[in-house]
Symmetry: C2
Subunit: 210 residues, 2 copies
Amino acid sequence: MTTDVSGCVKKSRGRPKVFDREDALDKAMALFWQHGYEATSLSHLVEATGAKAPTLYAEFTNKEGLFRAVLDRYVARFVSQYEAQLFASSKPLAQALKDYMVAVALCYTSKETPQGCFIITTSSALAASSEKVAEMIRLRHVKQAQTLVTFLAQRQASGELTASCQCSILANYLSCIIQGMSVSAREGASFETLEEIINTALGSLPGIAQ
Amino acid sequence: MTTDVSGCVKKSRGRPKVFDREDALDKAMALFWQHGYEATSLSHLVEATGAKAPTLYAEFTNKEGLFRAVLDRYVARFVSQYEAQLFASSKPLAQALKDYMVAVALCYTSKETPQGCFIITTSSALAASSEKVAEMIRLRHVKQAQTLVTFLAQRQASGELTASCQCSILANYLSCIIQGMSVSAREGASFETLEEIINTALGSLPGIAQ
């Protein structure tokens, strides 16, 4: 995975002269991803981004606002990439699902970012007191599940899934595997292990029209 | 789920006169399970267990020692219960796996304990600095995976799984679903949703001898 930050003033030891929003978001993302929402303090964020605290406040209002922007950036950088695999319409159903889940597994095991899913990892570590952040994450998960249901319903309409297949149940099953892959990756599972899990899951997927 | 604490001095508003180890472990477990290892402070543990700090130190040495005892207690109270479903040898393979996973799902969605798996939830929220706790959790997970492999290998030897089935891959797949169920339960999935996921996973399990 590469960042698409082009005009970034970085790699110098001093503070960047120009505030690069996307670069700051990527650095904040790495912190939240590794340590969770609560354990990442504003001073950690100031240090990692190289921005002044007043600059971060002006741009994002508070830590919660910064997290919201980071979540949007994660979706744009990663989630959109692998969801695109689902809607490449020329692919057969099984291939589209396989490409989607392999893209997810590559993201979760990439050496360039912390292991696992940013959203699932943050959610798991979240304190009960951070209600607004929990709600942001919950809504994002609902959207991901809806995306899978939309995809499956399209393939059911085209006859690739049997009429009796309940798309929402199949979507919950696939989401469950994706969540499990995030936990496995976080605990050190390799891409190859995740790929074997994907092959096992998709090798005998119910509801595929013969 | 019920606690098997019998000689417990509790329900009074004051501090218990006798230190009840298992009762203290159950109360500490609830805190670690809900809030994670780092976010649970010794003062929280003292308050919840009703024990004096010196009593906790004398019994468990430090927070890490208390966590180790809590982990053992979780395994005895919950993990052993649902793993027993696997080794009730009179059941056919599919039924044994179903009973095991349903017992797991009931534990993860019980209203009497925090949602999800104590071990997976704690692991997900763990800071990189808590290396010894991470190692305890990792070893426990390895043991859980080995239990599944042992179970599957027994059933392969008896001819219920095809000779070509790779037990370790199938065990990783089942572990992945269990991990995903923990994340789903933590985010509010009902027992019924988890049961649908189990039925989907086991309804088309690869390697079952016909």
